[in-house]
């Protein structure tokens, strides 16, 4: 069953002159309990997508057009009050740096109890009991005492566990995790990812994992969206994308992994950098950095087509497919 269905979502940023477009009509679905990874380099629009899903774009960003259907209701058309009922309750979000996402002047318990009581009619003691259960659920040692501690008394990994516990507090259907492990120690990262994976599996919670880390994506997610310059350029089963990427950008990302080059040699990075929003090249936004770019790429943005197991937006892939088809027909 589809939990979240995004259709032609366009997000723009108002500037002094023309508004610039940050998301160019992206479409994707997340099924109940499905784990989806969103990868791409900085500025590709990953976090914007996350915030847009919650209808929480801060000024000057705004949703220009498109639909975000969450459990059948369009988030973009809802009143403030109705969206607030969704946030934290039906969908939750986990941020990058647990050092700053917890309110420094409230104890862990106060923050958890406040969240519970903002959405449910609960007495203080009932809320405290639920908070305790959730803290146990993320393997926090001696949760009873943690409730009365302030965030600064806890380590980074511990805080991220608490952030996850708060996200799960109201049994949401979807968790948007915006680089949940980037700010953590490498040894803690694996723990936290494992915990997140386990909790999503056992509670049948959908997960949208925004990350740079292809390794994490391949371990945790079932499906992957690759974003570039505000577009989804390739999407499909994570296994297919990691093992057999089709879009030159995705291929570039995977080739750039340090594991792909022998130690001591230069990493195979993608040359150049992503275009800024106001200076988008015509045609495919990746064409200035693409080795395969042709005049067609510089003129038109390719449509998304099915190729094998993945959907991909690339003229070269389409040409390849057409060649294959004619070859097949010839046989």
């Amino acid at each position: 069953m589809t939990l979240l269905s995004v259709r032609d979502l366009t997000v723009k940023f108002a500037t002094r002159n023309e508004p610039v477009t940050a998301l160019h009509g992206i479409s994707f679905d997340i099924a109940q309990g499905e784990r989806v990874g969103v990868v791409g380099e900085s500025g590709a629009g990953k976090s914007i997508t996350g915030f847009a899903l919650m209808n929480l774009l801060s000024k000057p960003g705004f949703i220009d057009s498109g639909q975000i259907l969450f459990e059948g209701q369009d988030v973009t058309q809802m009143s403030d009050r109705a969206v607030r009922k969704l946030r934290g309750n039906r969908m939750a979000m986990i941020f990058q740096d647990p050092m700053v996402t917890l309110n420094p002047v409230l104890t862990i318990g106060q923050q958890m109890i406040e969240t519970l009581r903002a959405h449910r009619r609960l007495s203080y003691d009932e809320a405290r009991q639920i908070a305790l259960v959730k803290l146990k659920g993320v393997y926090i040692p001696s949760p009873e005492e943690r409730l009365d501690q302030y965030p600064h008394e806890l380590s980074g990994g511990m805080r991220q566990r608490i952030v996850i516990a708060i996200a799960l507090l109201l049994d949401p259907q979807l968790i948007i995790a915006d680089e949940p492990t980037t700010a953590l120690d490498v040894t803690i990262q694996a723990d936290i990812m494992e915990l997140l994976l386990e909790l999503c599996r056992s509670n049948m919670v959908g997960l949208m994992l925004i990350t740079h880390d292809l390794g994490v994506v391949s371990q945790v997610t079932e499906r992957t969206l690759v974003m570039y310059a505000g577009r989804i350029i390739e999407s499909g089963k994570t296994r297919a994308i990691i093992n057999d990427p089709q879009h030159p950008y995705t291929q570039g990302l995977i080739n750039a992994l340090p594991q792909q080059t022998p130690p001591g040699t230069r990493l195979r990075q993608i040359p150049g950098s992503m275009p800024t929003l106001s200076m988008m090249p015509s045609g495919c936004p990746f064409n200035p950095r693409c080795e395969l770019a042709t005049d067609l790429c510089r003129a038109n943005m390719p449509d998304i087509t099915q190729f094998g197991e993945v959907q991909v937006a690339c003229h070269e892939v389409q040409r390849l497919q057409a060649d294959l088809n004619t070859a097949e027909a010839a046989q």
Binding site: M54, L56, K85, L86, G88, M93, F95, T101, P141, S142
Partner: protein, 320 residues
């Protein structure tokens, strides 16, 4: 990670009491090592303590006409020749014991100062929070209002307002409600100080991620402002509160000195200074000088405490 069956028994120290926690904190430590802060705090506590318990300490009730004898007027304090032993600070022009009158007057001054600052704080903090958090046009309108308010000096606003009310209600009614009028006018005239400070802090705080995460948890703007942003903006509020109390006491004294504040039958420090001013050249200097010294000391220690709090709460000045 998953072997959580046997939870280790955590031997936790009991949470210290609230006083203990403050005493042991950085602020408490800094306080104990700062002689100026200790002295100021001590003098402040003595003055407020004496003022607060004035009805118990003062030998006479200066508000009770039956206890005042005009024949006792203008006795000098005990260290000057010609004094009476029962009036150790002397008496004022109406025969009131100066010691008792100063105690009661200080109490009035402190009450007016603190209440006026409460009014300022409530007005200023709410306006500042809304202005900073909502932003946009609301912010511009509220801040221009603050600018307009600030362009009139407090004393000017207060003088106009008090003179009008005095003319409107007559001095008898005015005298009865003078405390309320003074609190209202000093409170309203100075709210922009709070509003500006709070707005500036809110602008810095609202960009922090815990505010985003509060929004993501589905909290409404009111809750985010009051429960999340406000507690994180308290340190500048503490600092300006001390300065504002001192300012409000001075404003009250100035207004009373000008005859627009407390009536002579219920003198505050300001009206006491004013009433003695007529006699200063005829030799009865103590009626003005002694309450004047009390006022200066009171305001000085509050300002010194304010400076100390500002330094302590400023992490940039923290030298380990």
């Amino acid at each position: 990670m998953s072997g959580q069956t046997a939870e280790p028994a955590v031997i936790a120290a009991p949470r210290p009491s609230r006083f203990r926690a403050v005493w042991d904190s950085k602020i408490g430590y800094n306080f104990r090592r700062n002689p100026v802060a200790i002295a100021s705090m001590a003098i402040f506590l003595i003055i407020t303590g004496l003022a607060f318990f004035a009805p118990l300490i003062a030998p006479y009730n200066p508000y009770d006409p039956a206890q005042i004898d005009i024949m006792n007027s203008e006795y000098p304090p005990s260290w000057v020749a010609g004094s009476l032993p029962e009036f150790w600070l002397g008496t004022d022009d109406q025969g009131r014991d100066l010691w008792s009158t100063i105690l009661y007057g200080t109490r009035l001054s402190i009450i007016i100062g603190v209440c006026a600052v409460l009014v300022q704080a409530v007005l200023g903090i709410s306006i500042g929070l809304i202005s900073g958090y909502v932003g946009g046009r609301t912010d511009s309108i509220l801040m221009r209002l603050a600018d307009i308010q600030l362009s009139f000096s407090t004393l000017m606003v207060a003088i106009i307002f008090l003179a009008l009310t005095q003319a409107l209600f007559g001095s008898e009614v005015f005298g009865r409600y003078a405390v309320v009028f003074l609190i209202a006018v000093i409170g309203v005239a100075e709210w922009p100080q709070y509003a500006r400070t709070v707005r500036a802090t809110v602008l810095a705080e609202k960009k922090k991620e815990y505010v985003d995460s509060a929004r993501v948890l589905g909290f409404g703007p009111g809750r985010i402002m009051l429960r999340h942003i406000l507690p994180n903006s308290m340190s500048p509020i503490f600092v300006i509160s001390t300065v504002q109390v001192a300012n409000a006491i001075i404003s009250e004294a100035s207004l009373s000195f000008l005859g627009l504040g407390m009536p002579p039958s219920q003198p505050s420090l300001g009206s006491l200074i004013s009433s003695g001013f007529d006699y200063i050249l005829s030799g009865s200097w103590w009626i003005t000088v002694i309450p004047g010294v009390v006022l200066v000391v009171l305001v000085l220690v509050i300002n010194l405490l304010g400076d100390w709090i500002r330094d302590v709460l400023n992490p940039k000045l923290y030298r380990g």
